[in-house]
Symmetry: C2
Subunit: 424 residues, 2 copies
């Protein structure tokens, strides 16, 4: 019996993979105009068929509430006319971004007369595994389709009815527009085993992007045979140098911690130079505590602000995603850099300093996707960087680092033109 079940999963996934690969061939040479047309048609269909989507979504919501999902999660799951309009608007915005495919990235001639061009091409088939929020379904389609990729989505089981409805609406719209509907495929089986097998569908999937919490990302990295890009884990630091403008430091830290707490570019840990600590710690603690943030300090910090909670060693490596922040006092820039490099998740790190030499050392020596001098870590974001879109923020070094826009969803090929050259 078990063998049959496994084989039916295999067939199911292989079938999806083959359909995605067939769509990939058409997408590879699809004109800019057709890619735009597909997104515009999908955007229109989402608003036209909002009622269908809302009906499916209300079933997901009812089921989630019955299962005791907490209210904040139910809110992420719930769609409305307004949220669907937002998804639709997102598709239009992405349609207006320039086509990242077909760009001549480099061009060079060889002494033997070969003319070599390095040209951007779609990645091929992209797999995306994500949790809960159904609007990701439309976003992920927009970005992958605009960059000429087919996509296979695996959403959370809580949102399965919503995701099926959104995908059906978009696929119908593509078909009506005369475009390959298999550019967008959804894995409708939400069991763990199917997900595990999806991660090994290397023959058909060129890149797998997990979007979600640390557990999902770790499971994907450990089980996938498809190349993975890790995204979105951020234990981000702000370091207040001895030469910091203290007022600026308080403002940056406040923004980096308080503006939005559940996001990956929020600050989770402060590092403060001892020479400025007697002024900086009370000022920063006062500001954060006043905003309801729990500050957990090391022994030196507790002496300066006795109302602070005590940090344990576990705090330094923790991404709270919540109203908590850790605070460590260091004796030198060297110690600050060593501490941050030890606990960084390679996402975003900032220094506040008026000393250019310290700034340059921090920029050069910190090993992170985005390193800031005198600015908030919250800017690590595809829109803030001007990319016009974002599929995620890569925290690994292969292929793409930091915010990933349309361009980061492309690869390249070398096109070589000769007139009979052979190798000597």
């Amino acid at each position: 019996m078990e063998i049959e079940i496994i084989s039916s999963q295999d067939e199911y996934l292989t079938g999806l993979g083959q359909r995605a690969k067939a769509a990939e061939v058409l997408l590879r040479t699809m004109s800019d105009e057709d890619k735009k047309k597909g997104l515009v048609a999908a955007a229109a269909a989402l608003t036209e068929k909002a009622a269908e989507i809302l009906k499916a979504n209300s079933e997901d919501v009812a089921e989630a509430e019955k299962n005791g999902m907490r209210a904040s999660m139910v809110d992420r799951l719930r769609l409305s006319e307004e949220r669907i309009a937002g998804m639709s608007e997102g598709l239009i915005q992405v349609s207006e971004l320039p086509d990242p495919v077909g760009t001549v990235l480099e061009e060079f001639d060889r002494p033997n007369g070969l003319k070599i061009q390095k040209v951007s091409v779609p990645m091929g088939v992209i797999g995306i595994i994500y949790e809960s929020r159904p609007n990701v379904t439309a976003d992920a389609f927009a970005l992958t389709f605009r960059s000429g990729n087919a996509v296979i989505l695996k959403g959370g089981s809580d949102a399965i009815r919503s995701n099926k409805a959104i995908v059906a609406v978009i696929r119908d719209a593509l078909e009506e527009a005369g475009l390959p509907k298999d550019a967008l495929l959804l894995i409708e089986k939400t069991d763990r085993e199917t997900t595990g097998k999806f991660m090994k569908l290397r023959q058909y999937v060129d890149l797998l992007i997990p979007r979600g919490g640390a557990g999902l990302i770790r499971a994907t990295v450990e089980n996938s045979t498809i190349p993975v890009i890790e995204t979105g884990i951020g234990n981000c630091h702000v370091y207040v140098d001895k030469a910091a403008d203290l007022e600026m430091a308080v403002k940056i830290i406040h923004n980096a911690k308080c503006q939005r707490m559940g996001v990956c570019n929020a600050c989770e840990s402060l590092v403060i130079h001892r020479e400025i600590a007697d002024r900086a710690v009370p000022a920063i603690f006062g500001d954060l505590a006043g905003s309801g943030i729990e500050v957990r300090g090391d022994a030196s910090a507790l002496i300066l602000s006795p109302d602070m909670k005590a940090a344990t060693d576990d705090d330094w490596g923790t991404e709270y995603g919540d109203a908590i922040i850790s605070l460590k006092i260091v004796d030198s820039l060297d110690e600050a850099i060593a501490h941050i490099n030890r606990y960084t998740t390679h996402h975003s790190e900032a220094i506040v300093t008026a000393d250019d030499e310290s700034a340059v050392r921090f920029l050069n020596e910190i090993d992170a996707a985005a390193v800031y001098v005198n600015a908030s870590t919250r800017f690590t974001d595809g829109f803030e960087f001007g990319f016009g879109a974002e599929i995620g923020i890569s925290t690994q070094k292969l292929h793409a680092r930091g915010p990933m826009g349309l361009r980061e969803l492309t690869s390249y090929k070398y096109e070589i033109r000769g007139n009979g050259q052979v190798r000597g």
Copy 2:
């Protein structure tokens, strides 16, 4: 007992990982001058201490011969004064290439005044798993060190004494030059279990590159949790279009197949348009058979050249690496493209044609790292592309595609300078 063995392997690999990470920190900010100095010192040491290396190598060779290794493999294993001089010269050549680190790849200002630079940085710690040839040990060090990376090497058990000797000589040379010797580390345990655990050393290794046969690459992809770049599997095709210059086609095919047969950019399969087949097949078959190549044709080809062997369906997907080639006749460019895209390993594919429209379609629609018009597939090579060096040829689409030189061993970071900006 088994638990103890496992734990000792873990400790051994963790120790290497930590040493590599410590070296990485120093390499991250190492000057161009020091990187050159390290390579020049290593080059000098290799020739000075050639006797030590040759002694160790002669033990490997004796052991291999005792174990019945075939002569061609023993030849790959055997070093000589001349081969060591070649390794040394390779280090000098790489030292003369420009430093790929610290290049400002892009630069842009945001409306809020943030100044963003995208700067090339080393990848970090690179792992390389390879087989047999001990000269790879010096080559891999040269490329990773020049690009500011620490490297952990896992060579074949047959060459372990040679590799240990080469690594010891280079590490001593680095130390004498005042540079971090842990930039180069060798895994001295050659058992499978250690290799398996090495592939999961994600905490310390940023990128893993397997160099070797299809079995090694598959095992790495399936078992590694470290991001892998697949290299060097090439089932390369030459397609002879109906509008081909036949003389050029014969010359290109001869070169692509015969110039060197065991390499990944050699041609393994021919695809010929039916409209030119009656002239092309006998001419190509005559040329290849005259050079001792076994040609395996489909039914249509056998009618034209009855001395040809018959191909089976297994032939289309086979990388022979030997004096064999398959030959298929197609009715159209469409069929040629579909056939090649079905069996390609995404390495190098060529069309011979005088028709520009066919050439452009082939360039656009074939999914390979290097696509050629009227030239031999043998040019897919870091040196032939003018990169000055090559760590391998990537056949996947993430990060790097085709020949990988120094630049492909780097990542990037965003350096952002502000004056107190916070996100609104």
